[in-house]
Every structure is written in C-alpha cells, then in structure tokens.
C-alpha cells in the first residue's frame, strides 16, 4: 500500500473536492488507482456469501440442488420464503426476539453510560477496581454460567419468560458497552467540560449539552453492536425458554435440524432472520464513523 516512492515530491493537483478529514498531500494518482482496485476486490469478496444466500433463496428446489450451480436464479420464486413464513412459531419468535433485544440494548445503554461516565470523567477511590471488574467479567465465558443461571432464574420464576432473557442479554452486552463508551467519553477533551463549567454550566448541563451529544456516534456504534449481540444469541434463549418464547435464531436452528439440508427454505429463513438487523443497521449506518470531536477544541 506504500504507493509513493520515498522522497518523491508531492503531486500537485487541483484542489481536491472537500472530503472530510482526508489527507491529500503527497498522494500519487497510481497509488489511488491501486487502492481503489483493492477496495473493490475486497468489497466483492466480502459480499460474495451475502450474494450467494440471496441467489439460493430465490431459486426453485431443483436449481438449488444442481450439480452445476447457476449464478442467477433462472426461474425466481418466493416459494422458499412462503414456506418459512408459514412455519409454526415463526412470527411469534420474531416478535420475541425484537422485544428481548430492544429491552436489553436500551437497558445496557442507560446503565452502561452512567458507569462509563464514572470511569472516564471522575477520579475516585475504587475506579481501578471497577475497571478491573468490567474488564474481568468479559473473560467469563457466558455459556459456562448457563447451569447456575438457569437454576437462579428458575428460583425467581424468570425462566420461560422474555424478561429473564432480556436481563440476561443486558448483562451479556453490558461490560462491552461500558468499556467502549468509556473510550468514547475519554476521547472528548476535558477542556470542553472545564470551559463549560467556567462559562457557568452545572455538571448536569455539561453532561446534557457536551458529553451526551459528543458521545452520539459512540452511543450509536455501541448500541448497534449490542443489538447484534443480543439478536444473534440463541444458545441461552434455547436453554432457558420453550420454543414459543424463543427468538428467530433459535427457530432457525430447530428448523435446520428438522428439515435436514433443505437449503432453499433454510437460506430464505436466514434472510428473513437477518432483515431486522440489516435494516436497523443501514438506517443508522451513517452515524457510526463521524468524528464529532474533530475540531471541537479549536473552534
């Protein structure tokens, strides 16, 4: 990727169109072309499995099980999707998954943000101990806790309930949430806080007017990841709940075992299962990598 030869004079060119934060000095044209080609190849490789699942899902059964796979469905059909949608418990499990995931993410974000704030912005006795706890619990393989967790939730009458799974998922994504948000909050210069305090803001106002807005991209990125984690989970919900109280992922798993290798309906079910996450993702995608703090101190 080192495209410019050492010591080569920076290529003069017309003022590049305004591009947020991109450095244009010292970049050769051939280097840019090579980079673009690599970028396109990378994208194609990444997308191939996604393309292939779509390709398969719209094929009729005989085309799916063809010895010479076709790269486009010759007779596109929705049959695989209708059979997945009409399957028992599909819609129920879809709703369950959404409820459980949203509860967990919202809870983790609120609870985790407060803890992240404490770690990132306050110097207090016990701060290191909290960091150690937050880091340490991430090492615990959550699946290992399944047996004691099951016994505990059963005592509290929270097995076979969406609440029990929501709380479990909340705790599952909480350490990551705290730690990542801590990083984002630390990224906000303390000078901003201090300037606001000098200008007469209360600590609460500093939180609402400076830290919260500037952590926006971090909150989005963190919640997206939390959503993915909770939506993806199937082992815990499969162990704690009966099929009527499970999510789509667990449904997909059971569907897979009963149908064996019925690839068409399986891929269709997989697409439907992925749609909520993909849609959610694409809506908020533009917020993820915006560096809001860039230039905040200069201004």
């Amino acid at each position: 990727m080192v495209a410019t030869t050492p010591g080569a004079p920076p290529v003069r060119r017309r003022r590049a169109p305004r591009d947020e934060g991109t450095v244009t000095v010292g970049r050769s044209r051939t280097g840019t072309v090579v980079a673009n080609v690599i970028g396109v190849i990378f994208s194609v490789l990444m997308l191939f499995p996604v393309y292939w699942v779509l390709n398969t899902a719209f094929k009729p059964a005989d085309e799916v099980l063809a010895l010479t796979p076709t790269f486009w469905p010759k007779h596109p059909t929705f049959a695989n999707f209708t059979s997945a949608f009409n399957a028992p418990l599909f819609l129920q499990d879809m709703l369950n998954g959404l409820i459980v995931t949203l509860l967990a993410v919202a809870g983790a974000l609120v609870v985790g943000f407060l803890a992240a704030l404490a770690i990132a912005r306050f110097n207090f006795y016990g701060r290191k101990a909290i960091i150690l706890v937050v880091l340490g619990v991430q090492l615990v393989p959550f699946l290992a806790l399944l047996i004691p967790l099951f016994l505990m939730l059963q005592t509290a009458s929270l097995t076979n309930s969406l609440i029990g799974v929501s709380i479990t998922y909340l705790v599952l994504i909480l350490p990551y949430t705290v730690w990542t948000l801590r990083g984002f909050i630390s990224g906000i210069p303390r000078e901003l806080d201090e300037a606001a305090l000098i200008d007469g803001c209360t600590r609460a106002q500093v939180f609402w007017r400076i830290i919260l807005p500037l952590t926006g991209p971090g909150l989005v990125a963190t919640s997206v990841y939390g959503f993915i984690q909770a939506w993806n989970e199937f082992i815990i919900i499969n162990t704690l709940n009966s099929p009527a109280k499970q999510n789509l992922m667990a449904w997909l798993l059971q569907n897979q075992t009963t149908r064996g290798t019925a690839w068409g309906p399986l891929m269709a079910g997989a697409i439907i299962t992925s749609i909520p996450v993909v849609v959610f993702f694409l809506i908020i995608q533009r917020n993820i990598a915006t560096g809001l703090t860039a230039g905040a101190v200069k201004g």
Partner: protein, 327 residues
C-alpha cells in the same frame, strides 16, 4: 427559594449577576465533586454484574466440586460433594489438553489475521475514492449485520460437498478435481473454513472501528510530516499507529476474548455435533454438560477455561490500566 451565594458559587458564577433560580445548585468548585457521584453512577452496573455474573460464577465453582447429574437437576436435591475429582479427571485427560492447544492456536492465528486485515482495510478506506469507500462500508455493513449463526450456515452451504459453490469454483481450476470434496475430513482444511468465516465476519467491526479512530488522528500532523518528507510508512509508524494504539489494544483484546470463546461457528458448521477434532473449549464444556448431563464436569472445564483466560488476558488488562493512566 432564596439563594444564598457561597464564596465558591460566587467564584464560578460571579460574572453573571442575574442567574436563573435553577442554577442555584452548582458544584461547589470547578474540578471538585462529591465523592459519592461516581459510585452512584456505577452502582446499577455493579449490581447487575454481581447478580448475574458474579453470583453464577460462584455457583459454577461450587458446582465443579460436586457431582451434579440429571437426577439432581430434576429433583433439586443438593448434589454430593466430590472434592477435586472433576478436576483430576479433566486435567488427566489428553483429549482436554488437545482441545486447549487447538483453541489457543486458533485464537492466535485468527486474532493476528483479522486485526491486521482490519487495520489494513481501515487505512485503505482513507485512501480510496468516495464511491469505493461507500461500497466498502456497505459491503462490511451487510457482513457485520449478518447474525453469526446465519453466516455459519451460509458457509456450510457454500462448502457443501455435493452442491457447494466453493467446490464447483475450485474444480474449474485446471488439473484440480474437487468434486464432492468434503472440507471437514481433514481438520486443517475444516479449520481453514472456520478461520475464514470468523475473520470474514470480524473484519467489519475491526475495520470500521479503527477507521473511526483514524478520523481522530489530526490531519495537520500527517500533512506536516509528509511535507517534511516523511514516507507513508514513516507516517504510519510514527504518527498514526501511536495515536491509534489504545484503540488497537482494545479491539485486539476483544478479538481474543471472542475468538477464544469460539462456539457458534464450529458448532453450526458441524451441524450441532462437532467431531473431536473440531471441538474448542467452549463446545467441549457445553457438550460435556448438556450433551452428556455431566454438569459438574462441564463446570470444572469452564473454571479451568476462566483460569486460562485470566492468564492469557493478564497482559492485556495491564495494558488497559496503562491506557487508563494516560487518559
């Protein structure tokens, strides 16, 4: 409500004589705060972690010194105490040590490959044209959005021995016969598929997070260095990477945690019944506990896994503390 101005509030707010009443309760002084505030902020998190991670963890340790089978689970009776029996059984088992070695090797390879590619892609994203960057982001967003289980099933379908497209494509190479080739007979090949799957699925998080970190690198620094004659490699080594280091450490740590706990991918690719050569510590413990109803033995394996993890991660936790001090 009458506001009696203390000297401290007068010092911070003295320049604004007519303040709104709501502003009365301001901090006594800039830079100092109540000692209880951070604890109040952290307490909900601590309660949740203690209740749903700490307590089960203790129960798990207790369980590993008992002999809990299906009968005790159903009847609710206290399982008999067996001391270190479960541990001697596990630690004396060569199968267990093979699983440990395999999990460690997989983790090392996977983390190195995915972090390097993730960093490379993040840097590449700064270099390409706007349209290409958008394409890359869209591609990665789709991959990132895909649930692990779905991704694993797609890979299972692509590598299917009879109708998989991978065999079809490789078979087209001159002189290669890959018809009906099974990818999971040879464990090295099987693990290549699993590694590819995990790296492929891990790149979006790594690349996009690191790219977000790259936007924090002051472009004036890079421009100044470039004007002064620094090569792109020097800029990367001496400016970009040092600034990015805390973030790289964090994502590497997370990658280690996730990859060491590999479960979904090898479990799903082997259709819920991983053969011995495709077991990792997570699936091994799970199979012992839930497949064979040896709950205590599974717990003992989990305890050992946690201890191993602590050993592996001690270095990283120290790194984290170093960063915390720099902050």
């Amino acid at each position: 409500m009458s506001v009696v101005e203390s000297p401290a509030t007068r010092r911070t707010g003295g320049s604004t004589p007519h303040r709104a009443p709501g502003h009365a309760h301001r901090p006594r002084r800039r830079g100092r705060q109540s000692a209880a505030t951070p604890w109040l902020l952290a307490i909900p998190t601590l309660i949740l972690l203690a209740g749903l991670l700490g307590y089960p963890l203790i129960r798990m340790i207790v369980l590993s010194f008992q002999n809990m089978r299906l009968r005790e689970l159903l009847s609710g009776r206290t399982p008999p105490w067996v001391g270190f029996d479960n541990y001697t059984k596990v630690l004396g088992d060569s199968v267990f040590w093979t699983v440990v070695g395999r999990t460690v090797l997989f983790t090392v390879v996977c983390v190195i490959v995915s972090v390097l590619i993730g960093l490379g892609i993040a840097l590449l994203m700064r270099r390409v044209a706007r349209g290409v960057r958008l394409l890359m982001i869209v591609a990665m967003m789709f991959v990132w959005a895909l649930p692990q289980l779905v991704a694993a099933q797609i890979f299972r379908w692509i590598t299917d021995s009879d109708f998989g497209v991978l065999n079809y494509l490789i078979d087209k190479l001159p002189g290669v016969n890959y018809q009906n080739h099974s990818w999971f007979v040879n464990p090295w090949q099987g693990w290549s598929v699993i590694t590819t799957l995990v790296v492929w699925a891990g790149i979006p998080f790594l690349a996009i997070t690191l790219n977000a970190g790259l936007t924090q690198v002051p472009k004036e620094l890079i421009e100044a260095a470039t004007v002064d004659g620094a090569t792109p490699w020097q800029v990367l080594r001496n400016i970009t990477l040092p600034i990015l280091k805390p973030l790289i450490t964090i994502v590497t740590t997370l990658s280690v945690i996730w990859d060491f706990g590999l479960f979904t991918q090898n479990w799903a690719l082997r259709d819920g019944h991983p053969e011995p050569q495709f077991q990792t510590l997570a699936t091994y413990s799970y199979t012992q506990a839930f497949g064979q109803s040896r709950y205590s033995l599974g717990s003992a394996i989990s305890v050992i896994t946690v201890l191993l993890m602590l050993g592996v991660m001690a270095f990283y936790i120290r790194q984290m503390f170093k960063i915390g001090e720099v902050d």
